[in-house]
């Protein structure tokens, strides 16, 4: 699957793999936008780490401190169970931030694939733009990039599982009343 058609200076990932991975990410986005959260959860491995650090404004010389470290606070620092709890919450009918439901649109961009640490893992980098409409007037854009580790899996419905997702937003101060969404 990760074999290459020919050597290329830009990327060694063949176009068929690129196609499959892009479709996988589009499918994931579609599950979220269609509120098929249980199917969405199934795309993640049981040992997934789903992480979005916080971010601060820093001068260039201290830019390494821009994102919170792994031992600091995060917007999301979730294992599979925590993701499931979030879905449980939304499904409760009393999650006011999502009742009435938000209208989300996940736009996946600039997908760059690299071979991962193990032969069955890929490192997938994508830009994400999430547009959220809520109630009659709320509009939010959540923009950033994601680094996913995708793991090939026989058991997975779609051949791959997301084993790690790190999300880096391009906002420091979050310009939204809440993040009742997934990225």
């Amino acid at each position: 699957m990760t074999a290459q058609l020919e050597s290329s200076p830009v990327t060694s990932v063949d176009v068929e793999l690129q196609h499959q991975i892009e479709q996988f990410l589009y499918l994931e986005a579609r599950f979220l936008d269609e509120r098929r959260f249980e199917e969405w959860l199934d795309l993640f491995s049981d040992d997934v780490h789903y992480w979005m650090p916080t971010r601060t404004v820093r001068y260039e010389r201290e830019l390494d401190k821009e994102f919170s470290a792994s031992n600091e606070v995060a917007h999301f620092d979730e294992n599979k169970r925590a993701l499931e709890e979030r879905v449980t919450r939304i499904r409760s009918g009393m999650a006011w931030a999502e009742e009435p439901p938000s209208r989300t649109r996940h736009m996946v961009h600039n997908v760059i694939i690299e071979l991962g640490d193990s032969p069955s893992e890929l490192l997938v980098r994508s830009n994400i733009l999430l547009y959220r409409g809520r109630l009659d007037r709320d509009v939010d854009f959540f923009v950033g990039f994601r680094e996913d580790v995708l793991r090939q899996s026989e058991d997975a419905d779609y051949g791959w599982l997301i084993a790690r997702r790190s999300i880096f937003l391009d906002q420091t101060l979050i310009l939204a009343k809440n993040m009742s969404i997934f990225l």
């Binding site: 916080t54 601060t56 201290e62 031992n71 600091e72 917007h75 939304i90 006011w96 101060l173 809440n178």
Partner: protein, 442 residues
């Protein structure tokens, strides 16, 4: 001033006029009479450990620099150049030797003194009196147990007088061990399109919203074998206490029930916080170190925290219709590693912009605010009557004016203090009324 602010809050009848959340004129009075006079939380010692370390924050809407000086003390001054008003430092935090303005290069030392002026001789003929043109300094800065506060008002009473009878409750959060507390790195910051008082009041006085507003989060986090109403969020208000200070502060909590903490941040932090720390019991006694549960608290006006869950936050006003939330996670410095780790994750997961609990607060506050665009909507008073007239002040465990935990007594106290201050009442009057209240109740 057209509006008579004191008339907008009737603490005796338990009503509040909704214009206090929406009116621009009232807001400007608030900036002037509340935020430019109160002691405001600025930073925690642990954020700026070394000389030159700084954070930028706001006092009301005024940006300030909070800087660790070379002598170890903390300097606080306007983040505004005296020349043409440029923001001196545009980072959230960092380390610096001095602050040099990006417009014309005036340079200020770590105390905010103006120490360098380009071409001082040639352009200014050495006539500029640099001592006069330092950054505007916050005249009173004090540190209580690692929490740094400041006030613009040189005549404000000392910090401990300002905290007053709330100190007993603040200590349960801030004074648990000799080693003290520290903030975990990183912060949650976000924008709420709602007046800051909705948030401050809620943390001051509102246990009552939790079972409804946060029903989904409680449900998601409660193991199947627990009974929510009995074990997690008892609906019996006698199982807890609310405290209200004449100074505007307030807190509420369960006593020996309401085991929400284990579900939120895990069993280990719950054990640690609720009896597992012998030093804390020694310092605070068992009421505060063992039996308090699920507390919420606000130090007037806009500094709130949840002991146990250990989020703390400022509600920065940004106009009458908007606030910013800046939230951190606090840990006992000497807490075991697994307690600390559980707290780091659990607090962020529940009380943050993406937090299971806090998401829903955002929905409520923002929609209340939107409704206030209406003319009729601003004409009918809100109801703040819960528990009116039922307080007592001789509780064996919890000093001061207390009531059942589901109550709005502390909200009435908060709004009364707010109205007194916002209307321009002097500190003499403000503190006299407190003494009188204490005498009456004492």
């Amino acid at each position: 001033m057209v509006v008579d602010i004191r008339g907008l809050v009737d603490a005796k009848q338990g009503t509040v006029d909704p214009r206090i959340y929406h009116d621009e004129e009232i807001y400007q009075q608030e900036l002037k009479n509340v935020f430019a006079r109160c002691w405001l939380f600025l930073a925690h010692d642990s954020q700026i450990p070394n000389p030159g370390d700084y954070v930028t924050t706001y006092m009301g809407e005024d940006p300030v620099l909070v800087v660790r000086k070379r002598d170890g003390s903390v300097g606080v001054f306007m983040n505004q150049c005296r020349h043409r008003g440029m923001r001196l430092c545009r980072a959230d935090a960092g380390s610096a030797k001095s602050f040099s303005c990006s417009y014309h290069g005036w340079t200020y030392d770590l105390s905010g003194n103006l120490v360098g002026v380009p071409s001082e001789d040639d352009a200014y003929r050495n006539e500029i009196n640099k001592a006069e043109w330092g950054a505007v300094k916050v005249p009173q800065v004090d540190n209580y147990r690692g929490f740094i506060f400041g006030t613009w008002d040189p005549s404000a009473p000392p910090l401990l007088d300002y905290i007053g009878d709330f100190r007993f409750y603040f200590d349960a959060f801030a004074d648990r061990t000799e080693a003290g507390t520290e903030l975990i790195g990183g912060a949650h910051r976000w924008v709420f399109p709602a007046n800051w008082k909705f948030a401050a009041e809620q943390f001051c006085s509102d246990m009552y919203h939790a079972p409804i507003s946060h029903a989904s989060a409680v449900l998601a986090l409660t193991p199947d074998d627990q009974d929510v109403d009995e074990e997690v969020f008892p609906m019996d208000g006698t199982k807890g206490r609310q405290f209200s200070s004449e100074l505007g502060h307030g807190t509420g909590f369960f006593v020996e029930s309401g085991d929400v903490l284990a579900n939120i941040v895990g069993q280990k932090p719950a054990d640690w916080f609720q009896g597992g720390n012998p030093e804390a019991i020694g310092r605070l006694g068992d009421a505060r170190a063992e039996r308090m549960r699920g507390a919420h608290a606000t130090l007037f006006p806009n500094f709130s925290f949840l002991p146990g869950i250990n989020t703390l936050r400022i509600w920065h006003p940004k106009g009458p219709n908007e606030m910013e939330v800046w939230a951190w996670t606090l840990v006992d410095k000497n807490a075991p590693a697994d307690v600390r780790e559980a707290q780091r994750i659990g607090t962020g997961r529940t009380f943050s912009v993406a937090g299971l609990f806090e998401q829903d607060d955002g929905e409520n506050w923002s929609e209340i605010q939107r409704v206030l665009r209406g003319h009729i909507a601003r004409r009918s008073s809100f109801n703040v009557q819960m528990g009116l007239g039922h307080e007592w002040d001789d509780d064996p465990d919890f000093p001061g004016k207390v009531n059942r935990v589901y109550c709005e007594m502390a909200a009435r106290g908060f709004y009364k203090r707010w109205a007194d201050m916002a209307s321009g009442m002097s500190w003499d009057e403000l503190m006299a009324s407190v003494r009188k209240a204490v005498e009456v109740s004492g």
